[in-house]
Amino acid sequence: MKKKTLFINGVETSFTDERNLLEVIRKAKIEIPTFCYHSELSVYGACRMCVVDIDGRGINTSCTIKPEVGISLRTHTEEVRNIRKIALELLLANHDKQCTSCIRSASCKLQDLSNKLGIDKVRFKMTDEIKPIDDSSDAVVRDPNKCILCGDCVRACYEIQDIGAIDFSFRGSKVSVEPAFGKSLTDVECVDCGQCARVCPTGAITPKYQIKDVWKEIDNPEKTVIAQVAPAIRVAIGELFGMKPGTLLMGQIVAALKMIGFDKVFDTSFAADLTVIEEANEFIARKNKNENLPQFTSCCPGWVKFAEQYYPEYLNNLSTCKSPQQMLGAIAKEILPEQYNIKKENLVVVSIMPCTAKKVEANREEFMVDKIKEVDYVITTQELAAMIKQAGIKFEELTPESLDLPLGFKTGAGVIFGNSGGVAEAVLRYAYEKVNRVKLPSSDFLEIRGDEDVREVEVQLNGSNVKIAIVAGLKNARTLINKIKSGEKYFDLIEVMACPGGCIGGAGQPFIFEEHVKKERTRGLYETDKTLQLHKSQDNPYIQELYKNLLIEPNSHVAHKLLHTSYKNRKRILESELSFMGSMNSQKVEIKVCVGTNCYLKKSQKLMGQLFKHVEKNNLRDVVEVAATFCMEKCGEGPNVMVDDEHISQSTIEKILPSLNKKLMKKNLLTIV
């Protein structure tokens, strides 16, 4: 076949299956500036930075045009340069330009391009009013004054996660990106994954930093402050110190944390090993009983919240295991105070996570025992780098140090948790040996690994086929679950991670402007597994010791108390009810009908119509109030109806009326009729 070519600045350039001119130009080693272009998201064409001059077509955005044979374009004519500059100047006009105090300073694309394109002054006046900052969420902070309306966050939320917690609202000069009805993020369906912050080119959405709180604890002599470091940190933090992505820097991280003032440094991978054993045993038990399958992993708090909001009927299918972060916190608070001879409230656990949702997870009430949190603070990779810089530590020159024992010793299985597919592989390394009662010939399950965000594999366990799915991105999770619901697919075990690529692609990681970076981090974690002596969680001697001294056996009573949790349905939108019919009479019976998605699909609105008719027909308007509520958080049993304080599940009008009549009789209200 003849080679396809086009001309960039007069140079003949070949192309193959690139999706647009922008990709061809970038492959030709010419950097075209963009704000709204992300290869993983749909093409939007809004920022006008990528304009080029195409012969016969004039000035066009290169991201929106397919490469065609013979196209001749120029990338930096005077006209093109001027258009880019003016577009950028206009974006800067209403931008809150307090760069020195912005946490995105130095990683801000707007700042970077302003420098690169030579903007030396902004001629336009600021016309927008200062808008309030939304810092309601523990995961991310939204500062609309820094938003340039590129829409990256909106598309990430829809296209990666299929949630749509934020969208454009209003029109023209009033356009803004915000949650429905201008609510705050905590009042809507946001799952805290932070993918919006990951793609934001400016400081309009950023992880919520907890650095100040952590410094305060470190400065307090009464407190013993310990750190746990998640797998994905060690292969990414170097990027913030000019090192290559994927470089393993665990030893340097330990050294830096000790210099900062942490008393002990442990490894979340230790708890990941523990998760493997608990979760694999849970899976084997479920498989034997053939109940609550498929088993979904529960390490990812973004996914857990997503399931709680959208798939209440599958909550029993989630593994009851806490995430490694919480397991480490729980074990630390259980055993360390005695070991260190300190009061429990003086032990501070700080997690270093690649993730913004972990910040919210640590605050879940399930993870608080006697008002003491299992994990006190969660800081991201970015925040750790900021602390290292604040302490003036020359990270790149540090001599590596070793993690503390016992909670710092891990096997390779615990390390690969940071990759999409890592949890499933680690569980298999355990389950294979436990069920088949033979040593694994090689600990690598290469068939599980891959770049695709949905992968399906089959593994033989004790003669039976175990079907496993690996999903990254909640949109993919939703598609897969819908296929399971319709009977199109069957799986035994499903690993779900909210972020593409898994935890290595989390929103707390260093910002990525190049595609290959995630792959390098993934490779880094698999290589770390290779260099460790042990690869299977069951071989971890400190885990064995922990079972011997404390946990007795997997899924034991103690293990359940410390390492397992429960889930509950969550409302997506905080809403009070809609009252439709009712009396001013304080003596009345209240009927609340749920019209949330699940109940709605089960025709709760028809039920409401029937109730209206019943009330009208029997002239009960003075004594009965009918209201619609949005979610009673019991979606599995819908349609849900409350008659006063009595909950009726799987309601029908026949089920409701006797209860209503009983209540009316009891309150002596029937006599009024």
Partner: protein
């Protein structure tokens, strides 16, 4: 909360109408705009909770519906008065002194640009860019009724008449 009983069964009936509108449109999210138009006909605005309900029923995010509802000036997210007074401020009406009409209405009803609905929920005043009736400028439209070649005095007279009608209706 003191809402009269009749009011509440009106709310119930309205909600039933919303359900009917959704059913008529086959719960098709691509018909969002006609659905919102029909729902607005029922309530005279788009109540937040009803929008959330519509989002649930159409299986789209509330943020998307909010985006559509705030994009078009036809949609109102705040309750409007029983009488919506639209004063045309297009070029033809503007040169024929339509701003004096707007000011007269503001003064008469104690309203302003930021507060454009009266507390008794009777009147809402809006300016529109062109009603396409430049030959009879300045134009004022009250609900569906077009009033031509208006003056501030004629407009306040229309309002006074409506207020009297309302008082009469309430007395009966």
């Amino acid at each position: 909360m003191c809402i009269s009983i009749s009011n509440e069964s009106v709310m119930a009936r309205k909600f039933e109408q919303v359900c009917e509108i959704l059913e008529r449109n086959n719960y098709d999210s691509t018909k969002l705009i006609p659905i919102l138009q029909q729902v607005q006909d029922v309530y005279r605005y788009l109540p937040e909770k009803i929008l959330t309900f519509i989002a649930t029923s159409l299986q789209i995010s509330p943020a998307k519906i909010y985006g559509v509802a705030t994009f078009y000036s036809h949609f109102a997210l705040k309750p409007k008065g029983k009488y919506v007074i639209k004063v045309c401020d297009g070029t033809a009406c503007h040169v024929k002194n339509s701003s004096a009409i707007v000011n007269a209405v503001f003064k008469k009803l104690g309203l302003s640009e930021t507060k454009n609905t009266s507390d008794d929920m009777l009147f809402t005043i809006e300016t529109v860019s062109c009603l396409g009736a430049c030959g009879i400028a300045p134009v004022v439209v009250v609900n569906e009724d077009v009033h031509s070649i208006m003056t501030p005095e004629k407009t306040t007279a229309v309002i006074t008449k409506l207020i009297k009608e309302e008082q009469y209706e309430n007395a009966v």
